[in-house]
Every structure is written in structure tokens, then in C-alpha cells.
Symmetry: C2
Subunit: 232 residues, 2 copies
DNA sequence: ACCTGAACACCGTTCAAGT
DNA sequence: ACCTGAACACCGTTCAAGT
């Protein structure tokens, strides 16, 4: 790497700055990206569309962000950094629940953010503005009697549950059978009731049950179970 | 839809069958797809590569599978259907743990299969050969005293945890910092220790802890917590 | 310093024509 | 009945040339 700041000769211009004037900025790009996602959905965010949105050439973007992954990471840090911290209860176990729920709700509202987190190994790519949520969970776990190492395991377990819930639910949201029927019908239709009796007994209400939000009660059960583990 | 079976006039040929002879088959396509994934990795499975592998034109594939999603689903059902059923213990709670672990281990070995499951709303798209794993968990939960409805919630919670664990770990596996350093360094480097003390205290061993397999103990804690929930 | 169009190396899928 | 090449409508990214 031989690049270092200020090594490039700069042609002076009238206004004291140098070179061709910018037609956009990183801030503008991020704002446009967010607008595009909110309007057309996450899967429509492509480098080319984003450029078109801004009225610039696709290649111009590469002067403001390293690549698409970099863009997504910037977007994510910005978003998580703006999540307001929750009111924390004094009971440590309940504090874990509230902290995790805050994380969950923030990411549920922006499920695409979670896809970035999953793909990128998440923690290492966030900056401090986003990592405070992790800190909350760790602190509460330590308060509940965990060693720092155990607290990390508690956090990870909760993170897996939370990430799975959001990802699966986000993707299942509007899935229908081939014919547009809700899945119950399909489920029932080709089910050998004699071989799978329990599945058969709930097949006709599966999609109703699957639509119910059970995140928090199950999370509470998980936290209780984790904190009650032997060997601590 | 005006298509119905046998409505197309068929030119007879010498061997008693009709039309141009096939150069491949669905079974051959699935076998080649699996080989391609095992050899080059899941992300290299594209319609065009798969066709090249088989020595046929990309468009020929569309006579044997509806589209790429259909191909993945066929692949997945085949795989899950071949998973051997586990030895089940008599204790219902432990039976949930063993059943879920079987599901987990099978999908861990084939993480790309899980991506399909997540994307496609999973359950409704599987056939009976794959759904027996769900049945095992439901049956065990009912044996443990759950109503069928509660059993579905138990299954879903466990599924979220399992799916999250596999997805996050599969994607985090080989993530390094920009400079190829393990993430601990990056984590430590830009960490404001005074603001995030608990995170700071584990930063240097984070990646070691994150590499530890904690699936089963945490699952057991989860199951214990779920079955101990009030209001049942 | 910043922007641009052309180009590269890909995708999944459709469709008319051939055997 | 099955196969084919050409074509469509896209991707992310690089690079030499322009202002």
C-alpha cells in the first residue's frame, strides 16, 4: 500500500478547493439507499438502481464507498447507533430480557439489517455506536452471577435465537402454496396422518400459530433456563 | 391453464417411446448439483454452471425442474429424507433435546440447506420424508405435558434458535479483519473501554469463546425453561 | 479530485426453432 | 418429447479517459 494522504498533486480552483466538484457525497448516498429500501424493499437495493436514484453513473458510487458490502455496513452502523436505549429494570434476568427485546425490535423493523449482520460475522464489523446493546446484555448477565466468559455464551445463545426468529419470520411472512392457498392446506393435503399424527393434529391451525408473536415469553424461558444452569 | 396430460401429439419412434431422446434426467441433475456443491461450495451452484457440469445447455434444465427454487427444494427433501432417525431416550425433555440436536447436526453439515429453509418458509415446502423430525419434537413436547398448540410454540422457539445458530456460525466461520487479523484485535482496537467495560474485558478472547460449540447445553437450558413456563 | 461510459464476467429465465 | 442458441433483463466491479 503506497497510498498516503495528500500525496496526489492537486490542481487549484477558484474556490480554494481542488479538482472536479463532487456531485454527491457519502451522506447523500446513505440517505438515498435508505429511502430506496424503505420504498421498494431491501432486495431492490442495487448499486445500479441506487446510482440511478441519485442521477449519477453507477461507477461514481465507488468513489464514496469501497464496495456494496461497505455501503451496507455504513447503513447498519448508522441505524443501530440511532436506536434509543431502553429503560432498564433492576432485576438482572429481566434486564437481559429487556435488552434482548430492544435488539430484537430494532432489527425486526429492519430485517435486511440482520442479513448483513449474519453474513458479515456481525460483532467485529460494528462500531461503538452500535455495540452498546451487546454491552447491556453482558453487563446484566454478569450482574446475574455469570463470569465474563459465561456472559458471552449467554449473549451468543440469545443472539442465535433472536437472529433465527427474525430471519425465519421475515422470510416466511408472505409465503403461500403454489395455488395461493395458505400453507395449512398444502400441509394437510399431502400429510400421512397415520405416520405423523401430532403434525396432522395441528396442521390446520399451523399458520395461525406460526403468526403468533411468541418471542418474548420464549426468550424469558430461555434466560431463566440459562441462568439456572449448573456449574456456575 | 389449458395444458393437460397427453394432449400433445407424439411422433412415434423405433423403441416405442416418443420424440427426441433425453440427454439427462432429474436424478442426474440432482446428483450433479450435489456434487457441485460438495466440490465448489454452495454459492457456486448456478443454473449455468450446473448445465456446464452436465455438458448440456442451460435452458435444457428447465425441462426437468421448474426453476432454481424448485431444484433446491428437491435437493433439500432428498437430503433431509436420508437423515437417520436418532435413538430416542424415554424422558420427554431429553427427547426434545435429542430430536433437535439431530435436526441441528444434519443441517450443520449442509448449511446451504438451511438457507433454503429460511428463505422458503420451510415447513410447508417439505414432504413427509423430511417432516418426521418435526413430528419427533411435537410428540416429545406433548409427552412432556404440552397441549398441541404449546408444542408448536416449543418447536418454533427451538427452530429459531437452531436456525440462528447454524446461519450465524456458518457465515462467521472464516471472517477476519481487513488486515487478516482475527477479529479480537479489531474489536479491541477501536473499543472505548471506559464506555463498554464488559465488552472490553472479553474482547481479547471473544473469538475463542465464539468458536466454542455451546449448542447443546444452551438448548437443554432452553427446553428446561420452556417446559417450566407457567400457565400450562 | 471527482466523474464518466464502455467493458468484463457473470446471473436466472423465456422463447422460437430444430430434431 | 426433448433439446438448442439467441436474447432479455439484469447484477457488481474495473479501468482508461475526461474535466
Amino acid at each position: 500500500m503506497s497510498l498516503h494522504d495528500g500525496s496526489v498533486p492537486r490542481p487549484k480552483s477558484a474556490n480554494g478547493r481542488t479538482g472536479r466538484p463532487p456531485v454527491t457525497s457519502r451522506a447523500q448516498i446513505l440517505a438515498a439507499a435508505r429511502q430506496l429500501i424503505d420504498r421498494d424493499g431491501w432486495e431492490k437495493l442495487t448499486v445500479r438502481r441506487l446510482a440511478a436514484e441519485l442521477g449519477i453513473g453507477p461507477t461514481t458510487l465507488y468513489h464514496h464507498v469501497r464496495d456494496k458490502e461497505d455501503l451496507l455496513l455504513l447503513l447498519l452502523n448508522e441505524y443501530v447507533g440511532q436506536v434509543p436505549p431502553p429503560e432498564l429494570p433492576s432485576d438482572p434476568a429481566e434486564r437481559i430480557v429487556v435488552s434482548a427485546t430492544t435488539m430484537h425490535d430494532a432489527l425486526s423493523a429492519w430485517p435486511w439489517a440482520l442479513e448483513i449482520l449474519t453474513v458479515d460475522g456481525f460483532l467485529g464489523r460494528l462500531d461503538d455506536s452500535a455495540r452498546w446493546i451487546v454491552e447491556l446484555v453482558l453487563a446484566a448477565a454478569v450482574d446475574a452471577g455469570c463470569t465474563p466468559e459465561q456472559a458471552v455464551h449467554v449473549f451468543r445463545s440469545i443472539w442465535y435465537y433472536t437472529a433465527g426468529e427474525i430471519l425465519v419470520r421475515a422470510h416466511s411472512a408472505h409465503v403461500r402454496g403454489d395455488d395461493g392457498q395458505p400453507l395449512d392446506r398444502t400441509l394437510l393435503a399431502n400429510l400421512k396422518a397415520t405416520q405423523l399424527p401430532h403434525l396432522a393434529s395441528v396442521a390446520n391451525k399451523w399458520s395461525v400459530l406460526a403468526a403468533e408473536d411468541n418471542y418474548e415469553p420464549a426468550l424469558r424461558a430461555f434466560v431463566t433456563g440459562l441462568l439456572a444452569q449448573p456449574g456456575r
